[in-house]
């Protein structure tokens, strides 16, 4: 199987999708000036509650129930996070870290409580897939132009970008930066929850403790990598997914390169592309700066 065949690209989609979902939501948050370090925790929460939803409502709509529970739980976490970062001007990195720890502790405790100490490997129903595509990956393809339109062609999008670049400008145009950022944070939470739920119900059909394994952090990096542009972020996710697939194929050939080195191939690839592309001035100017500092 060649690495760039249509088949291998399609096979990569379910693995790239969780990161792409989370990255897309995070890009809107970042454009409004919020950096959500808690993305990993929100994905993990979305993943765990997708498991909960699916097991609570077995039957015909189990998968849908899973997605609903996963996204609701992640949005709730985003609300908590936004209260601190947007309305109380707290340090975004510290709050994000707390969100990650909370999510890891909470999901681990609840999982062990429900599924026992020595556990069992869980099998869940999953999304129906035709020719490698499922309802959510198709929805994602529609989300790309929609989010581009929302951010770059609507008044709300302009206000969001103003909130991220120079909040006083948005304020003097009559927008509430706090409301804009809260909205963006909730969209980010929803998409992170969707990514986490997809990891459970689309990619793997199971749940394990801490199964997001750094994908939330990867999504944050992808936003920079994709220059805050929805389609670039999706392509970047696919690119990393292909590199990941390539490294497994290289390992299987028995090539005499350390497995550790090969496992880092996707990240090395991202680093190289970033350094070639240069940092530029794409980043929102007020990214990570609490509103208070501008007053």
């Amino acid at each position: 199987m060649s690495i760039l065949s249509v088949r291998s690209i399609i096979a990569t989609i379910p693995y790239a999708a969780p990161v792409a979902f989370a990255g897309l939501g995070e890009s809107i948050g970042q454009l409004s000036g919020l950096i959500n370090v808690g993305l990993e925790g929100m994905m993990l929460t979305g993943a765990y509650f997708a498991l909960v939803g699916t097991t609570l409502f077995p039957g015909h709509f189990a998968v849908e129930a899973g997605f609903a529970c996963g996204t609701i739980a992640a949005v709730l976490l985003a609300v908590i996070s936004a209260i601190f970062t947007v309305w109380l001007n707290a340090d975004q990195v510290v709050v994000g870290t707390a969100v990650n720890l909370l999510a890891l502790g909470l999901t681990t405790t609840l999982f062990r409580d429900h599924y026992g100490q020595s556990g069992s490997l869980i099998s869940l129903p999953s999304l129906h897939r035709t020719f490698g595509f499922d309802a959510l990956t198709i929805a994602f393809l529609l989300l790309l132009p929609m989010s581009w339109f929302l951010v770059y062609r609507t008044g709300w999008g302009l206000a969001i970008r103003a909130a991220g670049d120079y909040p006083p400008a948005a304020e003097s145009a009559g927008f509430s930066v706090r409301r804009l950022r809260t909205g963006a944070a909730l969209i980010g939470g929803f998409m992170a929850g969707l990514g986490g739920a997809y990891l459970v119900l689309g990619t793997t059909a199971t749940f394990t403790e801490n199964m997001t394994a750094g994908r939330g952090f990867l999504a944050i990096a992808l936003v920079t990598f994709g220059r805050w542009k929805p389609s670039w972020i999706a392509l970047a996710a696919l690119f990393l997914g292909l590199l990941d697939s390539l490294q497994y194929q290289l390992q299987a050939t028995g090539i005499h390169i350390s497995a550790y080195l090969l496992q880092s191939l996707p990240y090395l690839g991202a680093l190289i592309v970033l350094s070639i592309a240069g940092t530029g001035s794409f980043a929102p100017k007020s990214l990570g700066i609490p509103l208070k500092s501008h007053e």
Binding site: N89, D91, V95, Q117, G119, F207
Partner: protein, 337 residues
């Protein structure tokens, strides 16, 4: 409220207060560890590298601990500890007067060697590792024997001539079982091709599935794993592509995927109970306790559901090899670590 950092810290405290005892799996003191139950003064503790709900390597240690609890009326406790937490965890159990502390993994051996000197009243056992002391013994589970038989079976039954192994972290105990799988396969069919991939993470079930799909794409039709919690990813990929899988560490034949044709199993209960009995009796010796098929600690369990699909010839050759291993005529290669 002037400093964003201060408010952030408060936010952190508020959020953390809900999960103080569980801020990470490593700090977890999980439900089910029965430290509160006073049942005599004989105290046994277990440390695992990962959560014990993996239905595999960590779970079998937890089950062994429960066997010690019931058979020897011991007071037991268990925790997850990895990396820099290992020494602290070993020390704190010793300070609390535990008679026996079991570290279930190769990674515990060196830290236990350092800590054991300072706590002569506590006996330590690590699952694998080669350093011993008067109060430090190691288990050497000879799981390679089970993997060797799995390799034989895969090589004899493979239609494509390609079989594969998918691992989590590349650590010596895992690499050693993979070497044995390959040796068994080559013994049965010198022309067999064995693919090996590692994901680097025993929790990342998506990575395990991806890795398994990549070896299946290279025509592997039998896959064995050492992926701990992420094993379900291996089994699901095998199910989707209609190839066989082997279970490892625990008996995973009943996995819902329905693709596990046999399992290489560690049965830790007798080994754990035996070493705890030695500690209780005061006959504990700091030595390497090699436990293999001859004592029933290692088994190779063929899934009865697949009996009709396994040629009698294959079953016969596996039984012959198993008998040779038990009698010592066949010595399965293993790494020393």
């Amino acid at each position: 409220m002037k400093s964003p950092f201060l408010i952030g810290s408060i936010a952190a405290l508020v959020l953390l207060s809900g999960c103080l005892s569980n801020s990470s799996p490593s700090a977890a003191n999980p439900k089910g560890s029965s430290s509160s139950k006073q049942s005599g003064s004989f105290k046994v503790a277990l440390l695992t590298l990962g959560p014990v709900d993996d239905a595999g390597w960590n779970a079998l240690a937890y089950n062994g601990l429960q066997a010690v609890k019931t058979k020897l009326d011991a007071q037991v406790n268990n925790q997850v500890a990895s990396g820099t937490q290992i020494k602290d965890a070993l020390r704190s159990y010793a300070q609390q007067g535990y008679n026996l502390v079991i570290g279930h993994g190769y990674e515990y051996n060196a830290p236990a060697f350092d800590v054991a000197k300072n706590f002569p009243k506590t006996d330590f056992v690590t699952s694998s590792g080669s350093q011993t002391a008067p109060n430090l013994a190691t288990f050497r589970f000879y799981l390679e024997q089970g993997f060797y038989l799995a390799g034989m079976m895969a090589a004899e039954m493979s239609k494509t001539g390609v079989i594969a192994q998918v691992g989590g972290d590349k650590v010596p105990p895992i690499a050693s079982t993979f070497d044995a799988f390959e040796a068994g396969a080559k013994a049965a069919n010198p022309k067999i091709k064995v693919l090996t991939v590692y994901t680097g993470n025993g929790n990342d079930v998506a990575a395990a599935k991806r890795a398994t799909e990549s070896v299946i794409a290279q025509h592997a039709d039998f896959v064995i794993h050492q992926a701990d919690n992420a094993a379900q990813g291996v089994f699901d990929a095998c199910k989707e592509h209609h190839v066989f899988a082997f279970g490892a560490n625990a008996n995973q034949n009943d996995n819902q995927s329905g693709v596990v044709i046999a399992s290489a199993v560690i049965n830790a209960d007798p080994a754990f109970v035996a070493v705890a009995q030695d500690v209780k009796d005061g006959t504990f010796k700091g030595s390497v306790r090699l436990v293999g098929m001859d004592t029933g600690a290692i088994e190779f369990d063929i899934n009865p559901k697949f009996q009709a699909q396994i040629p009698a010839k294959v079953v016969a050759s596996i039984q012959a090899a198993e008998a040779a291993i038990k009698s010592g005529k066949l010595v399965v290669p293993k790494l020393n670590f």
